[in-house]
Amino acid sequence: MKGVLSILALLTVFQGQVLYQDPSHDLVLSGKGVTNWSGETLDNGDLSFRASGDPLVLEAKNQGATITTPRLNGTFASAKGADGKTMTYAKVLHAEGGTTTVFDGQAAYAGDIAKAQRLKQPTPPEPKEISKGTLKTDHFDYAGSQESGTFTLPVAFDVTSDTKGMIEPKKKGDPVKAFLQNMEMHGSSGVINLNPGSKDKKDFLKTGHIEGPITFHMDRSESVAGAPFASVGKLDGQADKLDLDLVTERTVTLSGHVKLNGDLPNYISVTGGEKAVLKLNDAGEIVSVTFTGSPTTSTIKEKKGGGKR
């Protein structure tokens, strides 16, 4: 099975013409059916560019990020990183015409391994969690540095995220747990801050503000000691606004016409709430849900054998 997947992966590798490649080969812009490719160096040394293709693909291998779009313009910049090595990164981007952006933690890890081999450094340890996120929208603006970046999404977008990982036993003798967590979200516009160059590849999503109407779905399943995965919770929601803070408070705050329908350790059903705050732990699990306002209906029931809310 693994071999078949590898072959499929090879077959799906983008085979367009390479237009630009930075000195470390981490940042690569390629395209099929390229109809425009132009640019110039700026006074500060940045490289400004404009390109059209069917499609274009911009890969930031060390970040595990891939943007697929028919039209892309922006600037590439170079600066020395914390390790003293020069890194070229996308400083400004504007993509339009139907875009797909993928953040693949596995690909980022593969990029780290390749970089370590190139620099003859020790192989980096495998991360305990790997996420793959996909952002689809007609057009967006991006502004970033080596370590962080901000997506401005002026029109409707869809985000999906799949995370898999291991949960270390809390005490000696407890079995090791593996988990799968999926998330889908639709928003009308928003701003999302990422930290794709972080050493911690699991949480590239940092903060964000999203305007609605917003709909989302989350589900999580776990496997204990190698047993088949079983659902341990799911949550569907709607709201007018969503604020994300995975840096300090680790909260997802929903505002305006909040609807939640979840099967978490507690069963949750809320309709018409003004605000709901979902608190997450380091493993991305929802550990508490706090409501404010006067929901038209609200049901929170402790499941038999479930944990406390």
Binding site: Q17, G31, T35, E40, G45, L47, T86
Partner: protein, 247 residues
């Protein structure tokens, strides 16, 4: 009209052909040589056919020419009655032509070349394995352009200019240039046509770029035209490129 043999005899104790004008502005050495004086007593000219390790050096022109064979027409420059300035030349075999100006210089290497002065410049037509090198005031090489054939316009005086005013190379062209922003790093560009002017280099047709030590450029391809901006030392300070294909 008399032959140059009498002048060649001046090179006592030396083998081969030697010529210099009265002020030694122009000196010529070769293994074999034949020349014909012409013109008038006030305006003497010299027609030369030189063979074997030919070396021509003009201090006033800031010009040096080395080749296996050179046929040259020499005329008196300003305030000179004797021939001391190369008006035209045809050189073949391991041709090396250097023009110096304001401390900077450019050298053209090729297999055959013609040289023709016109006003304050000289036109060069070079063929077969052409290489143009430019050096800054510290004699440090700043760019090398290569092609299968090309033309060049050189300054005709060492008193001004950069030596090389402009050049065009054709065939499979390549330029290796110092990137001023990359601490001495180089960038290499290839294409079908290369034009060098005092402040720009333009490559067109199937252009590719590759940085060696440069921080901003790894590889650039899929480009139809690129313009490299140069500083006074003929180092690259930036570039612009485009590829626009009709749909």
């Amino acid at each position: 009209m008399k032959t140059i043999a009498a002048l060649a005899i001046l090179a006592l104790g030396q083998s081969g052909f030697v010529y210099s004008d009265a002020k030694k502005d122009l000196t010529i050495h070769s293994k074999q040589g034949q020349g014909t004086m012409g013109g008038t007593p006030e305006n003497q000219t010299l027609t030369l056919d030189l063979k074997g390790s030919v070396q021509i050096s003009s201090k006033r022109q800031g010009f040096n020419l080395n080749a296996d064979r050179v046929q040259a027409f020499v005329v008196p420059g300003q305030k000179s009655k004797s021939p001391n300035e190369i008006r035209s030349a045809t050189a073949t075999g391991q041709v090396k032509m250097t023009q110096t100006g304001k401390g900077k210089s450019s050298t053209i290497f090729c297999e055959t070349a013609t040289y023709q002065t016109s006003g304050d410049v000289a036109k060069v037509n070079a063929k077969r394995s052409v290489r143009i090198q430019s050096f800054d005031e510290k004699k440090k090489q700043t760019l090398v352009g290569t092609g299968s054939s090309g033309t060049a316009t050189l300054d005709r005086s060492n008193a001004g200019g950069d030596g090389l005013r402009e050049a065009t190379l054709t065939g499979s062209v390549r330029v290796d240039i110092v990137d001023a922003s990359a601490n001495g790093g180089h960038a290499i560009f290839t294409g079908d046509l290369l034009t060098i002017t005092q402040r720009e280099i333009t490559l067109t047709g199937h252009v590719k770029g590759q940085g060696s030590v440069t921080e901003r450029l790894g590889n650039l391809s899929g480009v139809n035209k690129i313009v490299l901006k140069l500083n006074e030392r003929k180092e690259m300070t930036g570039f612009s490129f485009n590829t626009e294909t009709a749909n």
